[in-house]
């Protein structure tokens, strides 16, 4: 049962993610981060609840929009900022950048900027888990757009056929770049999961990390008990433009009202008491990470051709 301690812990992580991204927004104009950023603001609770539901041996796969997942799984902040800034102290020596965050020490095994391409990776790691009897669950987090790609169909079919230990999580923010899900999908996500006989659950309150944790934990327990794959659709909201640090309500493809409605329910906005209790320590931690990251040098010519083969 999640306790108050659990609430506080998850709240803190969610706030940490938000403040990290707000720091990114702050420093971006100074060109300290010279690469595209896909912000998770509005979607933090999903990653937080999911990672809280995992065990240490579990494996995680994400997309180009994985700042939240990185932090939620326990990724080091200095290594993250260094990575975003293209420094040698980055988790991947600066070669990965924002779109390819990863943190193998906590099971985060990669994030891909090719939509849906990581779905079979999660399933393959689950197949390995089953073959080797490791008791691992593979967590695969993807956007609603992933479901249109053919590989999603291939992957779900295979995971179901072999009853593999994988938790599929669709972060449904109803958008792929600027296109609404209505104009992209003739199918319902629930029915798609059910097509393969994959048990499906939906969370409408995607801002509620406690709820995400609770449902995800029960999915993970069922998977670990040998029940095969599970599918979790989580409604969420992308606050910023698809890529970059700005807002984009003025371009006619979506509505500010929906954003305001979402904010009205977001604990990171409504629970100002918790914010007040935590924000200073968090901001200090972030500031220290930025300083440490900036102290790390850029990778040099000696790194250009290492790790190719």
């Amino acid at each position: 049962m999640p306790s108050n301690a659990a609430y506080d812990r998850m709240f803190r992580t969610a706030l940490l993610i938000r403040r990290v991204e707000e720091k990114i927004i702050e420093i971006y104009p100074a060109d300290k981060i010279q690469s595209p950023v896909h912000l998770s603001i509005g979607q933090e609770a999903v990653s937080v609840g999911l990672c809280e539901a995992l065990e240490r041996q579990d494996l995680i796969f994400g997309t180009y929009r994985s700042h939240a997942l990185y932090i939620a799984c326990g990724g080091d902040l200095t290594q993250m900022f260094a990575e975003l800034m293209g420094r040698i102290g980055g988790v991947s020596k600066g070669k990965a950048g924002s779109m390819h965050l990863t943190y193998p020490a906590r099971g985060f095994m990669g994030s891909s900027a090719v939509v849906a391409s990581h779905l079979p990776h999660a399933v393959g790691s689950a197949l390995a888990a089953k073959l080797r009897g490791t008791n691992q669950v593979a967590l695969c987090v993807f956007g609603d757009g992933s479901l249109e790609e053919g590989v999603a169909h291939e992957t779900f079919n295979f995971a179901a056929l072999r009853a593999l230990p994988v938790l599929f999580v669709c972060e449904n923010n109803t958008l792929a770049v600027h296109t609404s899900i209505r104009d992209r999908q003739a199918f319902s996500i629930q029915k798609m999961a059910e097509l393969y006989g994959i048990p499906y659950a939906r969370i409408d309150a995607g801002y509620d990390f406690m709820e995400v944790q609770r449902v995800a934990a029960s999915c993970a327990a069922s998977i670990r008990a040998g029940g095969g794959p599970q599918f979790l659709e989580i409604a969420t909201y992308r606050a910023k433009e698809h890529v970059g640090t700005g807002e984009d309500f003025g371009f006619g493809y979506r509505d500010r009202a929906a954003y305001d409605a979402w904010c009205a329910k977001d604990p990171l906005i409504t629970d100002q008491a918790s914010v007040a209790a935590m924000i200073d320590a968090i901001d200090a931690e972030i500031a220290a990470a930025v300083v440490a990251a900036e102290a790390s040098p850029a990778p040099g010519l000696d790194e250009l051709l290492t790790d190719v083969i």
Partner: protein, 356 residues
């Protein structure tokens, strides 16, 4: 002609103009691509066209690269000319099966019964930390495959020369690699039609060295040639290869007869790439034309790193071209020709947008 100021058009506007022209010229021409109808309009190359021609003809698509490309086949078979867009050429790999196993083969395999006129536009990312999966320049993969026509337009001029010809006259499938960094640059253009828009173009003349270049490397080659002439009296032939398939090597061979020295500057990896193919064409014709080792300039033999510091080392630039050219012409690495100070092309083009 003589006194008129030359017309200036940006690469993005040249694209937009030709897209508009193609849609306007035939009701049976359509554009399909993720975001083709949105406010960003494929970096400005389709902006406003969905409003002008309707969303049926300038059509946003779900995420379905393989399916979308197969749909283009069906469109072409039933009287519609499809233009596909991919905002990164990397994504075109998801449709490699349709392009290589189907599109390239449809005419030949069925004994000429069908033709698949179509244009697949793909944008090559570079700079600003695009990283390994948003930066590839995959022209060589497709140029290897008979049945495809592959182009890499280096300027607004070549876009205006070539796209109207492709969409109105040419009967085969074409893949175009448009370089993202070119989009915001301005070019002088001349509207005189060309006899063969798919032929290579000699865009600067000299006598010491031949530089064969593609895409944005054509600009770097031109700038390098100017630098070399100004700082060392070295003069170069610069050839814009433009179309990578069925290359007529005459222009290159003629140039080499004069210069005896060759640099190939392409946007991708040299191995099994454009540099390799140009070398093959030369030595199959006459290896004795080459008085010095050939230099091939392209991306370093690694995936593209995201960090700016590495990205700057990863790509060839003005300095690399000048250095390679000077050491070839002078016959030694310590050639004494001063190198330009600029470290990275992207920084330059952010400040200087032409006209070229």
């Amino acid at each position: 002609m003589t006194s008129a100021t030359p017309e200036i058009v940006s690469y993005a506007n040249a694209l937009l103009e030709t897209m508009d022209g193609a849609l306007g010229a035939s009701p049976n021409t359509v554009i399909l691509g993720q975001g083709a109808d949105d406010f960003k309009g494929i970096f400005g190359s389709t902006t406003g066209l969905a409003v002008k021609y309707g969303k049926d003809r300038v059509s946003d698509m779900p995420l379905m690269e393989e399916g979308m490309t197969g749909i283009a086949v069906g469109l072409a078979l039933n009287g519609v000319y499809p233009i596909l867009t991919h905002i990164r050429s990397d994504f075109v790999l998801l449709s490699a099966n349709q392009i290589i196993n189907l599109i390239a083969k449809y005419k030949y395999m069925f004994g000429g019964l069908f033709e698949l006129p179509m244009l697949i536009r793909t944008v090559v990312g570079r700079s600003w930390g695009q990283g390994a999966q948003h930066s590839q320049s995959l022209q060589s993969l497709f140029a290897h495959i008979p049945g495809l026509t592959v182009i890499a337009p280096s300027s607004a001029q070549t876009v205006l020369d070539t796209y109207p010809y492709l969409t109105s006259t040419f009967r085969g499938p074409v893949i175009s690699f448009e370089h993202r960094m070119l989009y915001s640059l301005d070019f002088e253009v001349d509207r005189t039609p060309l006899a063969n828009p798919l032929a290579p173009r000699l865009i600067r003349s000299g006598s010491d060295l031949t530089i064969v270049a593609t895409s944005i490397m054509v600009l770097e080659a031109k700038r390098a040639a100017r630098w070399l002439e100004e700082h060392a009296g070295i003069t170069c032939d610069v050839i814009d290869l433009h179309c990578l398939t069925n290359i007529d090597p005459t222009l290159i061979l003629t140039s080499l007869k004069k210069t005896g020295r060759l640099v190939v500057a392409d946007t991708s990896w040299p191995a099994f790439g454009t540099a390799a193919e140009v070398c093959r064409l030369v030595v199959q014709a006459d290896p004795t034309l080459l008085k010095a080792p050939v230099r091939s300039l392209g991306m370093a033999p690694a995936p593209c790193p995201t960090a700016k510091a590495l990205e700057d080392l990863y790509y060839p630039n003005l300095g690399t071209v000048v250095d390679a050219a000077a050491s070839l012409v002078r016959g030694r690495a310590d050639h004494g020709v001063p190198l330009p100070a600029e470290k990275t092309m992207s920084d330059i083009y952010k400040k200087f947008r032409g006209p070229f």
